[in-house]
Amino acid sequence: MTDTPVLRVRDLHKSFAGIVAANNINVDVADGEVVGIIGANGAGKTVFVNMVTGYLKPTSGLIEFAGREITGIKPRNATGIGVCRSFQISQVFMTMTVLENLLVAVSLAGQDRRSLLLPLHSDERVKECERIMARYNLTEHREKAASTLSQGVRKLLDIAMAVVSKPKLLLLDEPTSGVSSDEKFGLMDLVVDALKEQGTAVLFVEHDMEIVRRYVDRVLAFYQGEIICDAPPDVTLRDPKVIEYVLGESHRPGVDRQAMEVGHA
């Protein structure tokens, strides 16, 4: 491990037509660290994730990945250098089977572009996909079309597809949203273990405080586009401001959330 943080964000600012969606955001994430992001609806969590992965361009500020500036990078280039993400609403290929989904992900993750012209179902790729399916408990769903999967399984597939390229930084947008409560922990156990094994740093947006408490090393609390607390979970979750603005019942109107979220674009 080096001293350079895998993610370094400085003075990040984003506004939509005069409405501030992110302001003065400064974050460092170290290799292999697991960081939770919490905040009420419209607090700017997803905007932050979208900016880091290149879906949105910040109005001002700096984003560095492993010492290299990636501000305003295109999503596909972000993926290329090792910044991947999953989505609040699973982004998978609905009409394709689980295996095909993973095969496409695996083939695109390969460095050799010429191999893209070879048959998708090559033995080598299928083997790798089988390994991934085994890791993420997807083997039994192998030949099912993604559209027929339950939310939880689809979410797993979504995450599995995001990590096939073995990213150094992974951003998960509400990995447990829409997942039934008895699937939740199993899912998170699987994912966090698998990612720890790979040494991937993880940032994830989460509403469920139990999940946050159990899996993260550090929590960022967002409120009205700003980080109001950045500390380990037991500190953050006891912070009075966090309790008032994030954990309390008050879901204050923020920026129009729909306009900014990938899943709705």
Binding site: R85, V104, P119
Partner: protein
């Protein structure tokens, strides 16, 4: 390599089918041969549209490339006197592929109705130029002389028929291999979820562009082959929007199921039109239009689904008979 290619059932099938077609071609009367040639050539353009359709895009302007291919043949003859099949095809390929590449730079950012309309607009620009320019034949178009093969001028249509079959077979194999490849699977991927493709690190625009250029080149070659088989090019039956509509129609009629479906669909269409025109000259459009509606309502996966249904039914029946012999997993 060859073995692995022919291990693909579709390719093997296409090979067998085209081989049989080329054999019975010697027995067929000329008018059947002609219709088969038109059908096969048009099927080539439909094959390109199939590629686009699988990507979730429908072009209402592929007559542009169809016409460019046909006119490339005619203009090549007019200005250089060349009638050689290889040069004709090369010219069509270069012109259609080249224009497709340039227009693709714009079109690759468009989806849905906008893609359809912009491709329509581009094709109508060419139509507008052709019908009003005397040097380009205006509404008359040009006659196209008989095709020569490296200086040899055959006395029958059969060599051209064989060449068309060979080209269709090559294209079928090529497109099938492409669809099986990782890049080829990006058709469905792009249709299903562009965001995911981008986040997997591949440029959706580029994926669309590549497929567009392939389909343009196929349409161009198709136009060139029709021009050669027919001996005539003109804007109304090669470039007008109705031609694009017809190509899309055959695509839907064929169904997206297989790379051989376009040829089956296009040949069916050609005969449907010939007979409808002969039996009911004032109602052949009605028959064609009615067929289109019928397919949309009752056969949404096209003719191919019909063939596959017959096929699987038989297979199932046989499976029932043979299942006692051993365990055969689904």
């Amino acid at each position: 390599m060859i073995r692995s290619v022919f291990s693909d059932k579709t390719i093997l099938w296409a090979f067998v089918g085209f081989a049989i077609l080329s054999l019975i071609g010697t027995l067929l009367p000329n008018w059947v041969l002609n219709n088969a040639m038109f059908g096969l050539a048009r099927g080539l353009a439909v094959l390109g549209l199939l590629l686009m359709w699988r990507t979730g895009l429908i072009s209402f302007g592929h007559a542009l490339y169809f016409g460019l291919g046909a006119y490339a043949v005619a203009m090549l003859e007019k200005f250089t006197g060349t009638t050689d099949i290889f040069l004709r095809l090369l010219a069509a390929l270069i012109v259609a592929g080249g224009v497709g590449f340039v227009i693709g730079l714009v079109l690759r950012h468009y989806r849905g109705i906008f893609f359809a309309m912009l491709s329509l607009a581009f094709s109508m620009v060419l139509y507008g130029v052709l019908v009003k320019t005397e040097a380009l034949g205006s509404t008359d178009g040009f006659s196209v002389s008989q095709t020569t093969f490296l200086g040899w001028r055959p006395s029958s249509k059969y060599p051209l028929f064989l060449s068309i079959i060979a080209i269709c077979l090559l294209a079928t194999i090529g497109v099938q291999l492409y669809l099986r490849s990782a890049l080829g699977h990006l058709t469905t991927s792009v249709r299903d979820n562009e965001i995911r493709v981008e986040y997997l690190g591949y440029s959706v625009a580029r994926a669309v562009h590549v497929k567009y250029v392939i389909s343009c080149a196929l349409a161009g070659v198709a136009g060139a082959l029709i021009a050669m088989a027919l001996g005539q090019v003109d804007p109304d039956s090669m470039v007008n929007w109705t031609v694009s509509g017809e190509l899309v129609f055959i695509t839907i009629m064929s169904g997206p199921g297989s790379v051989v479906a376009p040829f089956i669909g296009a040949i069916t269409f050609e005969f449907l039109r010939t007979f409808a025109f002969e039996w009911a000259p004032h109602a052949w459009q009605l028959i064609v239009g009615g067929t289109l509606l019928g397919i949309i309502f009752f056969l949404p996966e096209g003719l191919w689904s019909l063939i596959r249904r017959l096929w699987t039914k038989k297979e199932r029946r046989r499976d029932r008979y043979t299942s006692s012999a051993g365990a055969r997993s689904a």
